[in-house]
Amino acid sequence: MIIRRRFLIVFAAFALLVVAPCPAPANSGDEGRFIESMAEKAIDLLTDLDRPRDERMTIFRGILNDHFAVEAIGRWVLGRYWNRATPEEKAEYLALFEDLIVVTYVDRFSEYAGEHLEIVGSETIGEADLMVHSLLKRPGDGQQVRVDWRVRAAGQGASYRIYDVIVEGVSMAQTQRSEFGSVISREGRSVAGLLDVLRRKTSDLGKTTR
């Protein structure tokens, strides 16, 4: 019986080690694995052009909402105009913002077949953010694209959320913010004008068949 008891204690200790929830994602590799698994999943599912585009869009939307802080990015992209928008405008804007990302990027992924995202490392920036550095590698000609992911732990230390993607030094959020700002000021400084343009763009891109 002594043996069994000792076994139980060891087993309990082991289980505690494995199952015990980490207070914070202290492991520096976690955020890298988070990005890596997301990229694998996305490249796997979205480069399969046998799937109809509608189905790929649904898959992409799922991956987007599971991994990206879409609402926070959308608010930041709208910048100071967020506070000027009515509640209805805010709701429509966030829906259109998500649609725009889906219809824009779903086709880009079709070109990533066979590519592999290699995690290079990560570092802490600011108070809460981590920057995960990666290289998108093309198998044929050895060309690679530098992609950095700004991530933050998503409460409870459970997982992460992506706040920005920076390709060769170009931040997606930054580019969109500057573009949206330009549209708003050209449309008479109104969010309604931006919503018009967004509605047209998402519907045009949504119809493209590829």
Binding site: R75, V120, H133, S178, E179, F180, S182, S185
Partner: protein, 274 residues
């Protein structure tokens, strides 16, 4: 200066006069709008947009079809050779700027690349230097001025040459003037060769970036504004020398400070929204 050069300068000046209208600054009682206006750094926006419109016409009518033929008809190995040769011809200018920036390691890399690729690489058609530990990098006088502390100056859309700013426009002129290839072409009366090289560079660049440019045009809400933001962020990244082609022990933190044009605190803004 040649008669041709003076004629070009005249055209530039005339374009500047005709299109010299400045962007209307936002009403001064709206400080946030004024701050946005300053951050965008594009006081000549109406003129720039007009030149962009002209450039797009030129691209649609001439450059894109040419690049399309080039990309479609010429086999990839030949295009790769042309690209390598054009890059090799650029080496003296890159070396000049490496040295002015005090980047002795990178200068050594550039000089070695030029020596290896010009000889073993058959006049630059092939690039054996990369495999020997001398990878390619770019430098130009606009970046040199930036490392010396020069501000980018107002954003400019140059006729035919595309997105730029006053600092990088000066850089283009200086790089042109110090390029030994251009001295040679000028002194031996082979100006046509210099033009041909310029045209080849444009076609090569356009063909290589065709997919990205088409995608940008297709998906952007404001093509001009998207390109402007892209150009400024890319330049800021290039001036910081990116990261991974630098020291092998990993990227520095300098490039994580966020692009210069928009230094306001993104982190705290996003936090605020929670």
């Amino acid at each position: 200066m040649s008669r041709n050069g003076i004629a070009w300068l005249g055209i530039f000046a005339a374009t500047g006069l005709v299109l010299g209208a400045c962007a209307t600054p936002p009403p001064s009682d709206d400080p946030e709008a004024v701050a946005d206006h300053e951050r965008i750094n594009d006081p000549l926006e109406p003129a720039n947009r007009a030149i962009f419109f002209f450039n797009r016409g030129f691209d649609t009518l001439l450059l894109r079809p040419l690049a399309g033929f080039y990309g479609g008809l010429i086999p990839p190995p030949i295009r790769e050779g042309v690209h390598n040769a054009l890059a090799n011809l650029q080496a003296p200018v890159i070396l000049f700027n490496d040295l002015l920036q005090g980047e002795t390691d990178r200068a050594w890399t550039t000089a070695s690349r030029f020596a290896v690729n010009t000889t073993a690489g058959l006049g630059g058609l092939r690039d054996p230097a990369t495999g020997m530990g001398y990878p390619r990098h770019e430098e130009d006088f606009g970046q040199t001025l930036a490392t010396w502390g020069a501000d980018e100056g107002p954003y400019l859309m140059l006729p035919l040459l595309g997105p730029s700013n006053s600092r990088d426009a000066v850089g283009i002129a200086v790089d042109f003037l110090v390029d030994p290839f251009n001295w040679w072409a000028h002194s031996t009366g082979r100006r046509a060769v210099a033009y041909a090289r310029g045209a080849m560079r444009a076609v090569d660049l356009r063909a290589r970036n065709d997919a990205i440019l088409a995608d940008l045009e297709r998906s952007s809400l404001d093509h001009y504004a998207a390109l402007r933001s892209l150009y400024r962020q890319r330049r800021a990244d290039e001036i910081r020398n990116g990261g991974l082609d630098g020291p092998p022990d990993g990227p520095g933190t300098g490039r994580l400070d966020g692009p210069a044009p928009d230094p306001d605190a993104k982190v705290s803004r996003i936090t605020d929204s929670f």
